[in-house]
Amino acid sequence: MSAFVALDGVSHVYAARGGSSGGTLAVDGLSIAVENGEFAAVVGPSGCGKSTLMKLATGLQFPVKGTVQVAGEHVTQPVKIAGMAFQAPTLLPWRTTLDNLLLPLEIVEPHRSQIRRRRGEYVERAEKLLASVGLGGMGSKFPWELSGGMQQRTSLCRALIHEPQLLMLDEPFAALDAFTREELWCVIRDLHAARKITVILVTHDLREAVFLADRVFVMSARPGRVLVERPIDLPRPRDLDVTFTPGFQDIVHELRSHIVRARQ
């Protein structure tokens, strides 16, 4: 069986602004394979095409060369089985937290055609999900009444509400303070463990990558491709304490040296 998310020899060029020739080569010869249920982290120097990887894997962009497969199918349109969360929570300020969570259900099938009839059921599901990330009873608040960390939790919930098989996270914790960030690592860790979904996390934070991932991919400077693939064999469930062990630190240092080399 092939991998759940498989990019094979992918190159992607962004057209230069204003048309004409000479676009930017964002990724070149990028190959990556993520197994079903695996937690993959992608790290690399800034501007290495990590976000391009996200867009390619979700069918928001299509490569000029190479193939992208998700769940065994060639990606020719947005994949619809993915949930996404970004550095900015991008919640809708005119909707309550609960209504923000229901947004994906108003769009994705089969929920879209059922949301009128089964609204009560969906609301219950959303409230359960909120409770699972420590936001029980916050559904009626507006996003701007929540703290940054709570907004990001809501954003994660929105990415998960339609029970996607693939969760794509683009530096979701980069804007948070260190303590909130570590709290949310545990939230993500538990969600992944409970739901057995495939996660691809793009991050700058090596500790985050090592703590959460089964495998870490190190990308080269632009145009990006995978330089190193590092399995993380720390036993699960992992506790935050593991981040202070020598074994953990060694892996972080090893990845760091790869990135330093990639930047040169």
């Binding site: 949930g83 969360a85 970004f86 769009i107």
Partner: protein, 257 residues
């Protein structure tokens, strides 16, 4: 009510009163003749004396303004959504609209008169022409500034462009839209009065023109006051509407201290 809150509440009335008092005092102190700048007291007397014509013409101006404004809201909203929807429509229409907006509307009135005669219709159309531009620009801006990440989140779920427009584009455009109404309504008054003073037998613009011909300077100023009052009332209505419809967008406490 606290002390500072009381000051904030009464400030609009106090400041307005102060302006009229200063005006009155200046006219007396510098002995400015009434035919040059009448004092507010003389204007007040004129308003009472000519209440009938002022009232009737104000209503006329208000009606042409509101109809023109209503057209501007409808067209402006549609055109703004179209311009925000497609980059091609944007590229095609934008220079046209800017060029059109740069034309002084006073220059268009003679053409409108040529087509529609004098009076009601040219006033409505001038009000419409002058006030629809800010609505278009604001609606289009609201759509153009959708966060690309949010667009990605929805697209990855298989959302169509129409979905994104309905769920995100239009709601997030509303604060821009209602904000533009405040600008547009005051511009609409400018438009209808311009048209009335050039080509109409009714309206405040026409009243002021006749008062000028007869050298009734206090009556000219009475007309200006009537316009200002109508303008303030309509602006206030738009502001209330804005606060009601888009309260979520106005949570800053910036100007409250």
């Amino acid at each position: 009510m606290t002390r500072s809150e009381f000051y904030v509440r009464s400030a609009p009335w106090l400041y307005t009163l102060a302006m009229f008092l200063l005006w009155e005092a200046a006219v007396h102190i510098f002995k400015i003749p009434t035919f040059f700048l009448p004092p507010p007291s003389a204007i007040a007397v004129t308003i009472v004396e000519y209440w009938g014509p002022i009232y009737r013409n104000s209503l006329f101006t208000l009606s042409t303004t509101l109809i023109g404004f209503g057209l501007a809201v409808g067209f402006g909203l549609l055109l703004g959504l179209a311009v925000g929807w497609s980059r091609a429509i944007y590229a095609g229409l934008y220079p046209l609209m800017i060029g059109f907006n740069a034309i002084p509307k006073v220059a268009v009135v003679p053409i409108l008169v040529l087509w529609f005669g004098i009076g009601f219709l040219p006033a409505v159309l001038t009000a419409f022409l002058i006030s629809f531009f800010p609505i278009v620009v604001n609606v289009a801006t609201g759509l153009a500034t959708i966060e690309p990440e949010l667009e990605d989140v929805l697209k990855a779920l298989g959302a169509s462009k129409l979905d994104i427009m309905r769920k995100v584009g239009i709601p997030r455009t509303l604060p821009y839209f209602f904000g533009s109404l405040k600008v547009a309504i005051t511009l609409a008054f400018v438009g209808s009065v311009i048209s009335e003073s050039i080509a109409s037998n009714y309206g405040i613009g026409n009243l002021m023109l006749q008062a000028q011909a007869q050298f009734q300077v206090p009556l000219i100023f009475a007309g200006l006051i009537a316009l200002a009052v109508e303008g303030i009332v309509m602006y206030w209505l738009m502001a209330v509407l804005e606060a009601r419809m888009t309260g979520w967008a106005q949570r800053s406490g910036f100007a409250q201290t």
